[in-house]
């Protein structure tokens, strides 16, 4: 009942390390429903790991994540692993993820890619899954490509198909891990446009990106990270025109 007043995504004191190297330390933020948030920062600052933690592809060492009132506590994982992973599976259903390398299933057509998880995970009927897949392909501008295999598509088309595949699970949040980094420049815009359209539809999106112009134009706000910490969270104009932190200023200078 009180969900509507709560933020859709709540992260507090999130910590993650590989062996002795600390990747994330004490990350906390809230994201409201419908926001488009860009995460920027130098390579190796932990922004991809943050995204993967949000989708439980990485298990958090400490802190908590809650998305749409499903709460994941690092301490739960230590106490009861199977309960944690069941809850993580439930949380994942609310979260769509798009990868830098697309990760489309090469042995399936685009329709097969988009219907697979629907039929397997949600036990959706084939007909219904197909209808939704066609609708989503239309939406990302690939209406005629349903029977094509991923290898026959350009990078931009693949990434749009990957977005459609994630949307088919009807997530509440979409996560993008450098969605345009392995694309040719002329294909970047078509992918960004899909994300803008989704923003207009009210989708909550978190994007790890190096596209500063897109981050500036489309984001509701921007998270700047360095060395596994959030340096600055601020309004998109604010951070680009008048960064509060020296580190942010130095980073942006190289990009703008």
């Amino acid at each position: 009942m009180s969900n509507c007043t709560k933020p859709l995504i709540h992260v507090s004191n999130l910590c993650k390390s590989y062996g002795n190297s600390k990747i994330l330390s004490g990350i906390s933020f809230d994201i409201e429903s419908g926001d488009l948030v860009s995460v920027i920062g130098p390579s190796g600052c932990g922004k991809s790991t943050l995204l993967r933690c949000l989708n439980c592809l990485e298990v958090l060492d400490d802190g908590e994540i809650s998305i749409d009132s499903i709460r994941l506590l690092a301490s739960d994982h230590r106490k009861n692993e199977s309960l944690f992973s069941r809850r993580a599976n439930r949380l994942r259903l609310n979260v769509g993820m798009v990868f830098q390398e697309f990760n489309l299933f090469p042995h399936k057509t685009l329709l097969g890619n988009i219907t697979l998880a629907q039929t397997v995970v949600k036990s959706e009927s084939v007909g219904k899954a197909r209808d939704l897949a066609m609708f989503l392909l239309e939406k990302v501008g690939l209406g005629n490509f349903g029977e094509r295999y991923p290898w026959s598509l350009s990078g931009g088309q693949k990434q749009r198909a990957a977005i459609a595949r994630a949307l088919a699970m009807k997530p509440k949040v979409m996560l993008y891990d450098e969605p345009t980094s392995s694309l040719d420049p002329e294909m970047i815009e078509e992918v960004l446009q899909v994300m803008r359209d989704l923003d207009n539809d009210g989708m909550t999106q978190i994007i790890v990106t190096h596209e500063m112009r897109f981050a500036k134009d489309a984001s509701d706000y921007i998270i700047y990270m360095e060395n596994g910490e959030i340096v600055e969270i601020s309004d998109e104009d604010e951070i680009f025109i008048n960064p509060q932190d020296d580190r942010t200023r130095r980073f942006l200078k190289r990009y703008m």
């Binding site: 989708n55 994942r92 993820m97 990868f99 295999y149 290898w151």
Partner: protein, 498 residues
Amino acid sequence: MRALFALLFLLASVSASAEDRVLKWAADPGSGAPNVFYADGDLSKLCGFEKDIIEKIANIIGRGAVFCQNDWEVLIPGLRVGLYDVAINGIVPDDTLSSAVIFSDPYYACSLSLIVREQNDRIQSVLDCNGATVGVLQNAKSEAILVGSIKKINVISYPSEYCVLEDLRNGRVDAALLDGQIAAYYVANSSDLRIVDSVGEVKYSIAAAPENIALMCEIDRAIAAMKMDGSLDAIVAKWHLDNDSYRKLAANVRSIRPEISKNFQEKFSKDVKLHGGYLKMLPFFAKAATVTLSLSIFGMSVAIIFGLGLAMVRVFTPRWISGIAILIIEFLRGTPLLIQMFFVFYGLPYIGIRLSPMCAGILTLGINYSSYEAENFRAGMAAVPHGQMEAARALGMNQWQALRHVILPQAFAFILPPLTNDFIALLKDSSLVSLITIVELTRTYTMIASNSMDFFGTGAIVALVYFLIGLPFVCLARLAEKYLRLEKRAYFARKSLK
């Protein structure tokens, strides 16, 4: 050049004259006591009553006896290709053999003994064997006697009497019909078996190649001399092999060699065709091919299923469980298939697991090959990019769903070529089951070839049959490869677009 030839000629003549003074005799110690065997399992202590006899003969004809080891089934073919001068190992002359080699006068005779388990009261004589399963030695006369005299009988032939008696003990066969002296020797040494009946009579002769007719005459004279002076009796008595059949034989010292030798001169001067036509063999090979094929197909199915399981356990379980899987894989592929086969067929009955030959064959082949398939599957799964698993998990699939729908279909495309390889290898390895009494292609080959003395033509046929039954699977795999291989599919599609 001429000098070289001269030297070679000299060497050849020297070695030939050296060979003249020895008598190379062959037997299979593996076929067991008391004929020719290794005492106490010590491979330096060859003994047996036939060894004593042949050494005595060699002594009489003034040659040194040299032992040559060969498998019992191919003792006669070995004579034909000149590996040794004579074979002496419980060989009973019959019509088919007589067309290939010549035989001495018999040196020993006995009846066949029917052996049953101590607690078996049902079978008291050979006639009680109606409907029963009886074990015999391969290529032995007992099979003909049984099949000829009893209507409903299942005869299984074994490579050695150890195997017959092992299977009699563990109940795969109800009775065993073995040469009297063999039966007596083993039953005397085991409390759980007994002899209930004696039938027929077999006479052992020494065999030699037809061109050694002169040698054979000498041997016949030696045997006659041994019968006269009692040295043959002494050997038979030493091994406790005395019986009525033998006594009758020993009393008759007249050699029948002159007539036979004339017979043979006629026979072999005309260069007789030995095999009875290949067309007649085809039904046997066809039947054997279906056995080989079903062994291979079922074996491979077991290998794929069990191998997939092993690979899954190895990749996706905690360390201590996957460690067990690794141990199983390494053990299975690190030990010979033949030993596993013997272990499963003859060893497992000790702990109460008695499998039919076909079952044991399929299981052993399948489980042995599962270790290779497990590694294939592991390599195939490792070849699928990690992002595929992450994408599947991110879409909400659990690990099993991701494996089933995303990883394995792609992995299968990678492992199809090595899988086909292994199937062909298994098809050929299936020949090993001939050692656990299954009559498949290789066994059919050795049976037909050693009877018809035609290892060349029959060999070519059986090789062709192996090749032909493997071929469809190779073609099928190629097709599937073309279809499944993603890069290839891309390649062909692009080509057709242009």
